[in-house]
Structure formats: C-alpha cells, structure tokens
C-alpha cells in the first residue's frame, strides 16, 4: 500500500499493539502528529516537556511490561529526551523513542533545530537508528521493537529525517526481520541450573538475592514457588522489591546502603548467594572486599556482561529469570537450614524497620505506612532521594511491577511523569507518586498533563524543605554544613545556617496553591491524625491529580545507613532502635 513515512510509522505502531504515545510536537514531526490526528487506535498524550514524555512511556512500560513509545521533534526535542533514555537504559525498560531530524541533505549543516541525536543517545540507549533510506523505514521500526522488548530490554531511538517522514513508498510492515548480530540467550544452561540446585541443597546459610530482572521477565510466580519449596530466605535490591511480598516471613527486605539490618547482616554471614536478575551494583554490595565474605555465588542474569563483573561467580547462568527459575523448580530441594532461618528471623525481630520518632512534625515513615494501610494495592512511583528510600522501606508491596522507581541512574523528577504513564495504563488502580519537595519540582509542569488527561494521580510530597538525602550526608559526614540544600532559603537568611525551624520563611512554592493553580486539589497535612483523612479525601478525587503536602521533620533521616564505601555490616542505625 502506498504510504508516506508518517503513515507507515502509524501502521507499524498499530501492528506492534501500541495504544498510546507520549510526545511533544515540533517542526519536522508535524506530519506524524497530523497522521495521528485521525487515528482512533492510538492515543496521544501531550506532556509539557520531552523528558517527561520518556519517563511517562517508561512508567507505562514498567507497570505493564509492554513497550512504551514516545515521539519528539528534532534538536531540543531530542536532546531533552536524554535523561529519560538514560534512566530507562539503566533500569532495562523497553521504549521506542521516535525523534524527528532535519532533512537528509541538511544533516551536518547546522540546520535549525539540528542535533546529532544518534551521537548523543548512542551510549544511553540499547541501540539507535538514523533512517537514511525510505525503503529501510518499516524494517527499522520492526527491529527497534524487537530490540527494545527482548533480551535485556532497553530504549531504542529511531531518528527520522523530515524527508523520510514525508517520502511515499508502496510497502507493507514486515512480520519478521533478520538481525545476525542480535541473539539474546533466554534459556539457561540446564547443567548449570542442576549444579546450582545441588549447591543450594547443600548450603547451610543460603540466600536468594533478587533484582529487577524478576519483574521484567515475569518471574515472580516461579520465584515464589522456588522459595516455598526450598524455604530459603530472600533479600532484594531496590529494583527487586515486589518479587515477593514485603511481609513474607522469609523476606529480609532490601540490602545495601539503606537496606534493612537483617538483609545486610544476612548477606555478610551467608555461605551461598543465589542472585537472579540483579547486577550486584555498588549501592547494594557496599565495599566489595567485605561483601558476602563467606559466600559462594550463583548468578543468573540475561545479560552476560552483568555476571562476574563486580563479584566473583562460582556458577554463572545466562538466561531469562523466569525460564531459569522454572527450570530450577523441579531440581530445587529444601536445604536443612533451620538454625539459619532462626538466626535471620532473629535479626528481623531485633531491628525491624520502624519510622523515626516525630520531632514535632510528621515522621515520613509514619506517612508512608499510612499510605500502605489506606491503599494496600496501589502502584507506587517515587522520585529519588530520601522519599525513594522511605517508599521502599515502609510501603508493604505484595505484587511485582508495583514499585516504579529510577534505580540505576537515580533520576530526580522521574516519579511524577512515570506515575502519569502508570495511570494511563492502569486507570482503575490507585497510583501514588511518593515525592520529595525537591524532586517534584523537577517535573512539576506535568500537572498540566495530568489535568488535561483527567488522571487522578496522588502526589504525596514528603516536604522537609531540603534536598533531604544530600542534607542527610551533610549532617552525618560534612559537619552539618547545609550547602546548597535548603529550599526555604531567602536573601534575609544568615549566610550559613544549620538550624531549620519555625523562624524559617515560608516555603515556595505553596504546593496547595500550586495544585489549585492547575485546577486540581491540594491538601496540606501537618498532624499525624490528619494523614488518613487526607488520603481518603484524595481517593475520592477521580478526575484530576491531588497533591498532598505532608510537612515532615526537616532533619528526618533514612535509617539504616551504610556510609558510602563502607561494609554492609557497618550500618548506622540512627533513630531506629
């Protein structure tokens, strides 16, 4: 059928089952938006910034497992996607990002709104394409969807010059394409899996260590069966949260810098780690020399380059987490580990994760626990920093794909646009962005998007008036020199200040008024007894976002904490007993 490039693109998106595109128009992509105007099968969500378009596609993808799609123009449109793409690339999120480009004969001429999109995005995508022949367009889109969604998923950029977008050609969208350099290994080596099962059965102090790969591959059901059959305790990375219920008796919680006492002690004392779908990254392992000093490590991951990169691995298994765990299940035997289970359960009881006591304002841990009680089946998005750690530690997750957070890149401003993508995919679910007052301002303009789309996302701002995580480091390691972290600072303030309190001037912006300015709902909560009524009131709003401004202790901290570069067992327990 004769089509121009834009029409081919729309046909391709429909064939790939795409229902929604997050985007922002501009000169060279007007023909694509034009083709979308009369296309009922694909909804276009107009964000207010291209970075947010990628984060929204990312949230959509993480919460569904489908490939998220975004569409932006050339030059600044494309460069604005960089943080979003890097975020998705780090956390293995399938995205196809279509960027416009100046016409082929203008490339390299410093044309208006020209940027070397392929050059800029090469190191922050799984792969990228500049389409230089109209006849390559359909096959390139097909390849992009295959690469984005298979193996270890990731973002793929397709850079489309204007003349490719408008060029007409008689062609059909292919059902398959050949890529001889791209063959991800999905099935784990059965010999290695049997060996792993034998080691596990003989271990005295074994642990499962799960990461984001469990969510991505849909391995949670298989993993839960393996845990049930073996009775082996579980620790997880931030990205692995939800692989197993937070309150499962064998779940010791998250390990690492802000991991639980039980998880960090267990990883230090264990004699076997069975890692699945995790990178053993530095925030989780702490100082590598003292990471799991007594343990033999089995590591299953779909990305061979993730195996044996940070820690020595006895049994490597390259494969998809779900397939590996399903193959493991028949061979897995329960080891005799009663004393070990008793020991780790003891650690859990001795040092549970409990909120800090209030110092006059709200305790953030209490706020998140109440959110968990009122909305036990919500999907939680987070920003980055203290809010993210409190969301990880105090919400009770029961399902995979319910904690949507920027793990690897640690992108402030991720949570709210991601929550928009989640809500579009799950209109009947409660979607909450647990935010800090700093992070939320990095993409606050998306209030307009949420209002325009009628999305009832709840934004729970844990407002301490600081860039809290950096302030915490300054308090603990830099002699309380709060440099560049106070968000209440005004010209009248003393040059140096480490004593926040009632003398501080009013916080800007006023989040309640801000919500009202966007024709949505703002609620301020300053007392513990107001938390639940505010959440219930927010739940009643069905057609627009709600900001709840929780005024928390200015110097509330995240505990436990392993100082950067320290050993996991050397935790600061702070206010947690």
């Amino acid at each position: 059928m004769m089509r121009n490039g834009a029409e081919m693109l729309i046909e391709a998106l429909k064939r790939e089952g795409v229902e929604v595109i997050f985007g922002f128009p501009g000169g060279v992509v007007i023909p694509v938006f034009d083709a979308l105007y009369s296309e009922p099968a694909i909804k276009v969500v107009l964000t207010r910034h291209e970075q947010a378009a990628v984060h929204a596609a990312d949230g959509y993808a993480r919460s569904t497992g489908k490939t998220g799609v975004c569409l932006v123009t050339s030059g600044p449109g494309a460069t604005n996607t960089a943080t979003g793409l890097a975020t998705a690339n780090f956390d293995s999120v399938p995205i196809v990002c279509i960027t416009g480009q100046v016409p082929l004969n203008m490339i390299g001429n410093d044309a208006f709104q020209e940027a070397d999109t392929i050059g800029i995005t090469r190191p922050i995508t799984k792969h990228n394409y500049l389409v230089t022949e109209r006849s390559e367009l359909a096959a390139t889109i097909k390849k992009a969807f295959i690469i984005a969604g298979s193996g270890r998923p990731g973002p793929v950029v397709i850079d489309l010059p204007k003349d490719i977008i408008v060029g007409k050609l008689d062609e059909e969208y292919p059902d398959e394409v050949k890529m001889r350099g791209y063959n991800p290994v999905l099935k784990g080596h059965i010999g290695q899996i049997k060996k792993a099962a034998e080691l596990l059965a003989k271990a005295k102090r074994p642990l499962f260590y799960v990461g984001g790969g469990i969510q991505i591959s849909g391995a949670a059901p298989a993993f839960r069966k393996v845990v049930k059959k073996t009775g082996v305790p579980v620790i997880s990375s931030l990205m692995g949260i939800g692989a197993i219920e937070s309150d499962h008796p064998l779940n010791l919680g998250m390990l690492g810098m802000h991991g639980t006492y039980a998880a960090n002690m267990a990883v230090t004392e264990c004699d076997l780690i069975f890692g699945v779908g995790t990178r053993f990254d530095d925030r989780a392992t702490g100082k590598l020399e003292s990471f799991a000093p007594h343990a033999t490590i089995i590591h299953a991951d779909i990305d061979p380059s993730a195996i044996a990169r940070n820690v020595p691995v006895e049994i490597p298994i390259v494969g998809d987490a779900a397939l590996v765990l399903e193959d493991l299940l028949p061979f897995a035997k329960p080891p005799s580990i009663d004393p070990w289970v008793k020991l780790v359960s003891g650690w859990k009881e001795e040092h549970p994760v409990v909120p800090e006591k209030s110092r006059g304002r709200l305790s953030p841990g209490v706020v998140v626990k109440k959110i968990s009680e009122v909305f036990p089946e919500a999907i939680i998005a987070t920003e980055v920093g203290q809010n993210q750690m409190w969301a990880a530690l105090f919400y009770n997750y029961t399902q995979p794909r319910t904690l949507i957070t920027s793990g690897g890149l640690g992108t402030m401003g991720y949570g709210f646009p991601a929550a928009i993508g989640v809500k579009i995919a799950h209109p009947d679910k409660t979607v909450i962005d647990i935010a800090g007052d700093g992070s939320i301002q990095m993409n606050i303009q998306e209030m307009a998007t949420a209002v325009q789309e009628g999305l009832a996302v709840i934004i729970a701002v844990l407002n301490n008036g600081y860039l809290g995580m950096v302030r915490q480091w300054q308090e603990l390691f830099y002699g309380k020199r709060y440099s560049g972290t106070c968000l209440k600072r005004r010209p009248e303030c003393p040059e140096q200040c480490s004593n926040p309190g009632d003398q501080c001037l009013a916080y800007v912006p006023d989040f309640v008024k801000l919500a009202e300015a966007y024709d949505s709902v703002g609620i301020r909560v300053t007392k513990e007894e107001e938390i639940v009524p505010a959440l219930k009131r927010a739940a009643e709003v069905k057609d627009r976002p709600v900001i709840i401004d929780f005024i928390i202790d200015e110097e509330a901290n995240v505990w436990p904490m392993v100082p950067a570069g320290g050993a996991n067992k050397d935790m600061l327990l702070g206010g947690v007993k």
Partner: protein
C-alpha cells in the same frame, strides 16, 4: 595483558564509533583499531588491540558481543593467529647514512620506497615487535615521520577455510 580481538561487524555507518565509544565510555584501553571489508560487502572485519587484566578483557568481549551490529567476537590471543602491521617510516639520512639504513632495512625485509635528498622512506610489514625493533635500531630521533596501520590479524589454519563467508 594485551589482547588481539577480531570482530565481524555489519558494514553500516556508525559501527566503528559504537565500538570506539564503548571503549571511551567504559574507560577501556584501546591500543589500535583497524577496519576493512571482507569478501561479503555487508560485513567488515575489525581488528582491535586492547589491554587490561583478565576481568577487563572478559568485560570488553561481553560488551562487544552486546552491540547489535557486532556479528562475531573472536579473541585471537592464545589462538594460533597471524598478526601483521604495516609501517611507513621516513628516516633522516643524508648520502653518508644511506648505505647503513638500506642495510638495516634489508635485515628486516623492509622495502625502500622513496629516497630524498636527506631522507629515505621504508615500508615494513610484520609483527608489532618486529616494527618496534626496526625503529629502535634506526633510532627514534632519526625518524622524521611515521604512519603505522595498526594490527590486522586472522586465525591460522583450518577454521579460516571453513568459514568462507567473510573470510
């Protein structure tokens, strides 16, 4: 340790920069990189020389394998392989030193390709060590200009014969 890695890659625009970018982005040490077509015009062969401890080399190979445009990664280090480099060397040599340089060139089976008023240009092919040896005998201070190709390398013997495509 230095490794010679041979790659078969899609002959697309931008493949070389993906490979080079991998090395710069991850701070791997790349000593030389050459590229040329194979008998299949859609496939290029890249020979790269890189160094690092075993873990780094392992990572380099895994990361190269992850590139969509890389079809095959072969670490020739430890395999029986033929390694060659070409150097063009312009040596400072007036009439009084010509005979000496030509004699040295002879020993290294280098060819004299140009003689100027105060210089002789040599073409030498061989292993990197051989070229280094030649240069050290001539003396680097006498070298006016030099261009080295970087190493190209193939595996010896039977295997090459079997893989006719892209050989």
């Amino acid at each position: 340790m230095t490794h010679v890695i041979s790659l078969l890659v899609e002959n697309h625009q931008g493949v070389l920069v993906r490979i080079a970018g991998l090395f710069s982005g991850r701070a791997y040490n790349l000593e030389s990189l050459t590229v040329g077509v194979t008998t299949d015009p859609a496939v290029s062969r890249v020979t790269l020389v890189c160094s690092g401890d075993d873990a780094v080399i392992e990572q380099i190979k895994k990361q190269l394998n992850k590139l969509v445009d890389v079809i095959k990664v072969i670490d020739l280090t430890g395999l029986k392989s033929i390694n060659r480099e070409l150097a063009l060397v312009k040596v400072q040599a007036g009439p009084e030193r010509r005979a000496e340089i030509i004699q040295v060139a002879d020993v290294f089976r280098a060819r004299v390709i140009d003689v100027g008023a105060d210089s002789i240009s040599l073409e030498v092919t061989g292993s990197t060590e051989k070229i280094d040896d030649l240069l050290s005998i001539i003396g680097t201070s006498a070298v006016q200009e030099m261009a080295r190709s970087g190493l190209v390398s193939i595996e010896r013997g039977r295997k090459t014969k079997k893989t006719a495509k892209g050989a």
